[in-house]
């Protein structure tokens, strides 16, 4: 019966994936959740099967947060009335992404839109939940590893917030030029304005470099933590 239910999402899933492909993205789709995941979620969240919004869905990983915003905006146009769950500013145990729940013929289909960094973080969290402790995904597990995940999730957010700055600066500059031209302002003013936006751009670039270095240092710490966890697991296996 459960299998019939999850298969019933097939047509809605197809429609969503077709629409996304028309946008030039090629999502990886999950035709339907595994029985095990469905049962676990029902236990964990005390919800009914009919309330589950992620029986079927797909995932799109885009390069950065600027592309993510553009893609989310296009999905909102393609699926008017879809719910948008933005976990970037309110992360769920460190998990950041945007989820769109599109409803086709009464069947909810979840579209996960992640940047490459959000995706990297999610894969690390999921994999460590698999092999270290299943509660890691929900804020549990060894303190040391959980702290590292929390820290790296915040690092991703800082990096991505900064990633938007040069784009915004460029947009502002373009907008100001258009406005000034309409007011017949002379070229020196345009140059002044351009210098100001360039200064903002360069400052963001410098901050960005600092964050990249911090990220790489954090990755080194994570490598060390994995070695420590591996040793601990080996010891446990021997005992």
């Amino acid at each position: 019966m459960l299998d019939d239910y999850r298969r019933s999402f097939g047509e809605a899933y197809e429609a969503v994936v077709r629409t996304i492909r028309q946008r030039g993205e090629f999502p990886t789709g999950r035709l339907a959740k595994s029985t095990r995941s469905i049962v676990e979620k029902l236990h964990r969240e005390s919800i009914r099967l009919s309330q589950m919004q992620d029986i079927a869905g797909c995932r799109v990983v885009v390069m950065d947060v600027v592309q993510q915003e553009q893609f989310v905006a296009s999905l909102k146009t393609d699926f008017p009335g879809a719910s948008v769950i933005d976990r970037r500013n309110n992360p769920s145990y460190g998990y950041r992404a945007v989820h769109i729940i599109a409803e086709i013929s009464g069947k909810p289909i979840e579209i996960q839109v992640r940047t490459s960094l959000q995706h990297l973080w999610a894969e690390l969290s999921e994999k460590s939940s698999d092999v270290l402790d299943p509660t890691i995904k929900y804020g549990g597990g060894p303190d040391y590893w959980r702290n590292i995940l929390t820290l790296s999730s915040k690092a991703v957010a800082s990096y991505e917030n900064l990633e938007k700055v040069p784009v915004v600066a460029l947009e502002n500059w373009k907008k100001s030029i258009v406005e000034l031209r309409s007011q017949y302002v002379t070229e020196p003013y345009e140059e002044l304005l351009r210098d100001e936006e360039l200064r903002i751009f360069m400052k963001a670039k410098a901050e960005n470099l600092k964050l990249v270095r911090a990220w790489n240092e954090l990755a080194d710490v994570m490598h060390g933590a994995i070695s420590w966890l591996d040793e601990r697991r080996l010891k446990e296996q021997k005992q």
Partner: protein, 82 residues
């Protein structure tokens, strides 16, 4: 393409991997159910998932955890451009 993965979460490794043409969806769904029923009967705690992607490479990019260990996943995000 459609991919059927039976994944051993504790070991972090794939137990069964099969691929299907897009036209074989029903067959893939049937096989998934068969595997789930067998595992359930035997009391084996594996995840069985059916995924659709443009290629195996695309699948490996969006679902690294099935194919790579923690160190490999981390490596994919280290050494970002400076």
């Amino acid at each position: 393409m459609i991919f059927l993965i039976e994944y051993n979460r504790r070991e972090g490794s794939i137990a069964t991997f099969r691929d299907f043409d897009d036209s074989q969806r029903r067959e893939a769904e049937d096989l998934r159910l068969d595997i789930e029923l067998v595992l359930n009967r035997k009391g084996v705690d594996h995840e069985v998932v059916l995924l659709e992607a443009e290629s195996q490479d695309a699948l490996r990019r969006t679902h690294r955890r099935y194919f790579e260990d923690l160190r490999q996943i981390l490596k994919s995000g280290s050494g970002r451009d400076q």
